[in-house]
Amino acid sequence: MCLLAMPTFLLSQNVRGVVIDAGTSEPLIGANVLVKGTSSGTITDIDGNYTVAASAGDTLVFSYTGYQTLERAVTSGMTTLDIQLPLSNFELTELVVIGYGSSAVKDVTGAVSTLSERDFNPGNIVTPENLLSGRVAGVSVSTGGAPGSGSAIRIRGGSSLSASNDPLIVINGLPISNNTIGGGRSILSTINPADIESFTVLKDASATAIYGSRASNGVIIITTKGGGSELNVKFNSQIGYNTLPNKIDIYSADQFRQLIQERRPDLADQLGDANTDWQEEIYRNTTFQNYNLALEGSLFDALPARLSVGLTNQPGIRLTSEFERRSASLNLSPTLLDGDLRISVNANATQERNRFASGQEGNAITWDPTQPVYDPNSPFGGFFEYWQDNGDGVLNASDLVGNAPGNPVAALLQRNDRSTVNRYFGNFKLDYTLPFLPELTASVNLGIDDASSEGRILVDEDSRVAQPNGEFVGSESEYTNDSRNVLFDGYLTYDKDINDRFRFDVTAGYSYQRFESESYTSGELRNDLPDSEPVFSQATDLVLLGLFGRANFSLDDKYLLTLSMRQDATSRFSEENRWGTFPAVAFAWRVREDLFPQSDIISNLKLRLGWGITGQQDIGVADIYLARYNQGLPSSQYAFGNQVIPIGVPQFRNEELKWEETATYNAGLDYGFWGNRLNGTLEFFYKESSDLLAFAAISDGSNFSNSGFQNIGNFTSQGLEFAVNYDIFERRNSKFGWNVNFNATVIRTRIEELALGQDVRFGGIAGGVGNNIQLHRVGFAPGKFFVYKQVYNEDNEPIEGAYVDLNGDNIINDSDRYLYRNNRPEVTLGFLSNFSYGNLDLSFNLRASIGNYNYNNVNSARAQYDLLQNINVLSNLPTAVEESNFNTTATVLLSDYYMENASFLRMDNITVGYTFPGVFNTGAGLRLSAGVQNAFVITNYSGLDPEIFSGIDNTIYPRARVFLLGADVNF
């Protein structure tokens, strides 16, 4: 005993020093200095000084809340040891919401990205997914131009061909349906972005497998804001001015007159006297308004609560287009029974009001610019239309010039297509930690999402829209849609620390979710024909059941292992095929804590490896395996003699239909340097989707269609994601701060196997009835364009109708089409920069897409000289016709001449803001901001906007350029 005690006593020395903040060099008061493995230690004094007794060979542990913990060995003879503590990677201890639970960032083993309010995109954000557009590597968000428009969200490119590629979106534990309700703009348009606290994106299978059958395309978890301990009132307001950034180049009225004289002088008598820019006429500049008021605090000092109300009014730049959203959100999160019972109640109610404006872009491009918009002599509400009194004394469809188009401005102004969507969604969550067994927590989550819409489409009586019998009485119809889903989740979590080295937690639970929807449409109310009778339809219910379990193990806080398993069942498939098993394994190694625990430079280095199997079953229809007969609608009946008989027709069925499965391998490296000033991730993934649900041809005659959903296909996808976040200048040190965030994603996909080697055609285009321009073929990336190879002359001009005879049979037909490029980009990049100087802040964010190609259908179906004559009227052309000199649409429609590189760099937003601290003498903060949304686009694409998700440009609702002013007040 003496021997053991001796060395301590003999070699004990006093070590002293000062502990300061590594960044600011300020002394840290009250920092802990401990001798590791013992209970002896001290704390620093008011100057950051300390003195402690330790022996050579001991390790001193320095720690302070908010700062990283450093360890230093005591060497023989050491008397002074000064320490600079870097700021804690508080991000690492932050909790991240993952499926059915939460985890500290440092313990996460899968490819998980979190975005909280400080990472969100600033600017004119109407729908929530735009908050993370361009912010997360591997996630692409492409939003349409219409107000409240939905977005195509793709995580790692999606994993499917014919089944849905949309990720699963979970709001506070409630997965929502991916089907937009009829009359609504999109699934997320009824969610107020100001209510969102954070997004967690689960990208690889090891994170998503716990969602089993819906997880193959990734998961986005949205968490809404809750109450706090202090009363906080926030008021955000924004007004903006929407403008049209550019138009398609077509001939002006005078240029058109000249063109007709040169090329078709025989038609010159059809020219009018006016000078109309039809594109200007169908657009308008509008004002956008967004207001949000949120109260956060604690009711009766014990019940954290948050109440927020919001109003967004976004009239679209297309004439008559409108979107308005009113929302209210309430969150209560009481804690009862001494903290053992935590309740969270989220209730949201929103109302969306829309007026839909039909797409008149194509019409506006081709309308004769020499005709006026208004005509005082017109019987059609004062709008100019092509008509000719046929002298029978009755004004009806016989008086319209045959095959002539209708006035685009009239089409917009004489039509009133309105809808109102009411949505209630929310959840009630209980977490109960058993008092006699504190490691065990039981959780129950009940959720509901109920949306109902009603709409009415009214067309003026004096419009040129005629009923089937030729009468002009306008048109009227109504519709309602209802859809809802209910969720029950119940699970147990057991969390245990064993001897401070080994931790594990186990979760096991059950989930039940049911989706229902009905719809009603009144049919045409202005005629009595049997085919315009009301139709009531109800979708087949969808029921999803799952059993899930997950275990996390942590050894020394350095080696982490996660195992998860989900057993999922869906009502979409037959009894033999409806259960699927989805396992996942992930391993993480906190390299820094293991190999470089004392490093000042490396603050975080973590290697993650994961594998998992996820499923996909969203093909839209829910009862393909049932032997069904459909009864024909009143317009689809057959007559025997003079008796009209409703018909019954058997429907395509596939009892063998089952899940798609995607196996994902993921390797990731999280890194952080200099106190996480520079941090980021590097990920590599490989996905293989098998049993793809493909809508493909089936042996003719064996079933009741020539095509249907089957599991035949195999598809691989691999990619690289890189993200870096750098605080170039840190705010704490100076008045100047600059943070940049950059991410890049490269994805390659390839179809390995497809439905007995056949091709799947899709991608409908204009310029004929039923043409397709895209193809899925084995051995190539999905969705390549299927076009003819244009032949050019010595001056590099295209020769109309001359294509390379690729199969050498001296005939140019379908067999000479080849696969060219893709609508998917090869590389996508996102960049965000945030400056601040004193109270001034400036931020901008950019997005780039490289390698995506568009098929310019605007030109391919319109830029040909023959189209100057549209049967009985004149028609304008895009000026692009001068480059090709083509005459006939049918000859050139499918040429690769119209394929264009649509790579682009887009400045999504530039915002400048100034914060006035402490206005009104009450400690309130006021921030004023100004900015531009959709500032500019750099691209070689000749069309209106290169960012077209489908790759087929057949006119789009243009994305407005918005000039914004905002005022945020914080009490």
């Binding site: 016989s398 045959g402 049997p530 085919d531 089936i698 064996s702």
Partner: protein, 531 residues
């Protein structure tokens, strides 16, 4: 305590779980959708199921004219009669389609079609779907099934007739497949529903099968002209047999012209009569006017209750001249489809060869038009016709301005008269004077004073007369192939072989290729030679 609570939780969980697993068995929510067993639970349903099999000739899907249960082709273009029309009429001298930007049509009229052509996919798919629907109806009305459902009495007798009609419709589909593609997958109601890859049947096997079926059902069908309009009767079965035998030489190398003549005689004796006015056969009320007794088997269309973009809608809207804007004459929108259909020079030349100067069947409009189709895209080149109409025999308009009420007469008596004459010349059976009598009856019906004598009757004349009488009724290609004028150099027409004046096309184009997708989905099928 702990154990009690834990076991209680487990029990609740288990109860909940088992209760909810049952929810996974869903039923169709749509009020228009039925499980097969529920559909056949009423007496009326057997008639409705039969109507469903017939409907595939006319309607493309159950939700209006824009819906289709065939994929890979525009819904309207996938219609049965329209597919037949495109493949039997457009590929010949009878018509030129202006809008070549619609896929598949240009190669058809320019004789450059390949196995990737969507129109072929549509026709093969639609024809085989007809086989599938007929097979399903036969499965659902088998003796075993009817016994199971307790069906007896007069309904059972009616069902026996329905079954015979379904078998006819299946035979009709195989007849079309045999004519157009020369082969098809062979599936009957003995095979299950699913994704089975049926064996291939060539013309020999299909011929034998169709002949066998028709002979077998003959006695079960209702007597000619005694069944409800639009339903199959013995007249239709006899007609199909006559067609089979008329083409037997081309299809299976057998001389069956005598048998053809025999059935033609039976049809003629069955009580069908020629319409007093030719054009009434092609009007909106051709299901009830004085032309109806001539029609042996129609495809029904109606602007309100049987909406489709089938052959009659196509022809009536397409007939409308771009510069004439005469749509109102036919009961459709004045502009129609912008001058979509014209006729070739060779077609016009036949009508203008001197025999048909005064003839109701000559409806050519020639003013301010060139006889040659100089440029397919220019709708003012080439003559147009006015044969079909959506107005009734007393001049009133059809119910709608685009989809027409005019039924498509697939088989009619006039055809039988000409078949008799041709079969007589080719076989010597029957009587020449009768043949000439039938021939002249058609001329007289058309108010054409030029009747012929026995010496003047010859095969070439019959071919021309078939064009004059039956143009645009989906017979031409079959006739040209039988006369060996479709391929080769014997007879060329505007844009045949992708040349303005027309050139020879290779012999392998006498049959159409099987679509690529169909070959891929069923490896038992082999492609026709030359493709």
């Amino acid at each position: 305590m702990i154990h009690l609570r834990l076991s209680l939780l487990t029990l609740l969980g288990a109860l909940f779980l088992t209760g909810c697993v049952g929810d996974l068995d869903v039923t169709p929510g749509d009020p228009n959708a039925f499980l097969a067993e529920d559909f056949y639970s009423s007496a009326e349903s057997y008639r409705q199921g039969l109507a469903g099999v017939y409907a595939n000739l006319s309607i493309t899907g159950t939700s209006g004219p824009g819906s289709s249960n065939i994929s890979g082709i525009d819904a309207g273009t996938s219609q049965y009669g329209r597919g037949l029309w495109n493949l039997q009429v457009l590929a010949t001298d009878e018509a030129i389609w202006t809008w070549e930007n619609d896929p598949g049509l240009a190669p058809l009229q320019r004789s450059t079609w390949g196995a990737g052509n969507v129109l072929l996919r549509g026709m093969y798919g639609r024809g085989m779907a007809q086989v599938a629907f007929a097979n399903e109806y036969l499965r659902q009305t088998s003796d075993a099934k009817l016994d199971e459902r307790g069906v007896s009495g007069s309904l059972r007798e009616d069902i026996a007739v329905y079954r015979a009609e379904a078998r006819f419709l299946r035979a009709l589909a195989y007849y079309h497949m045999m004519d157009l593609f020369g082969k098809a997958a062979f599936i009957t109601n003995a095979d299950p529903v699913g994704a089975i890859q049926a064996p291939q049947a060539g013309r020999n096997q299909l011929f034998e099968y169709v002949e066998g079926e028709l002979l077998d059902i003959m006695d079960e069908l209702i007597a000619p002209r005694q069944n409800e309009y639009a339903r199959v009767d013995q007249g239709a079965a006899m007609m199909l047999l006559a067609k089979l035998y008329l083409n037997a030489d081309v299809w299976v190398g057998q001389d069956r012209y005598a048998d053809c003549l025999d059935y033609c005689q039976q049809i003629i004796d069955a009580g069908y009569t020629l319409a007093p006015e030719y054009l009434n056969l092609f009007k909106a009320d051709n299901n009830v006017n004085n032309a109806t007794p001539e029609i042996i088997f129609p495809i029904v269309s109606d602007g309100i209750v049987t909406q489709n973009y089938g052959p009659t809608t196509l022809m009536i809207n397409g007939q409308v001249g771009s510069q004439e804007a005469n749509g109102e004459d036919f009961g459709v929108n004045s502009g129609g489809w912008g001058g979509a259909l014209r006729v070739t020079r060779q077609f016009s030349e036949i009508f203008l060869n001197g025999n048909y100067g005064q003839d109701d069947r000559n409806t050519l409009i020639t003013e301010e038009r060139t006889i040659e189709v100089e440029n397919i895209a220019d709708q003012t080149t080439g003559y147009i016709i006015t044969k079909w109409s959506n107005r009734t025999s007393d001049g009133s308009f059809g119910a709608s301005r685009e989809i027409v009420d005019t039924d498509f007469p697939m088989f009619r008596l006039a055809d039988v008269y000409l078949m008799y004459a041709e079969a007589h010349l080719r076989s010597g059976a029957g009587s020449r004077s009768q043949a000439v009598g039938y021939f002249n009856a058609l001329r007289q019906r058309a108010n054409n004073p030029a009747t012929i004598t026995e010496n003047e009757l010859n095969l070439d004349l019959i071919l021309d007369e078939r064009l004059v009488e039956l143009h645009w009724e989906s017979h031409r290609r079959q006739d040209l192939v039988r006369y060996n004028r479709f391929t080769g150099n014997q007879y060329n027409w505007s844009w045949k072989g992708n040349a303005k004046g027309g050139i020879a096309i290779p012999e392998f184009r006498q049959v159409y290729p099987l679509p690529n997708e169909s070959l891929a989905a069923n490896p038992n099928l082999t492609q026709n030679e030359g493709y």
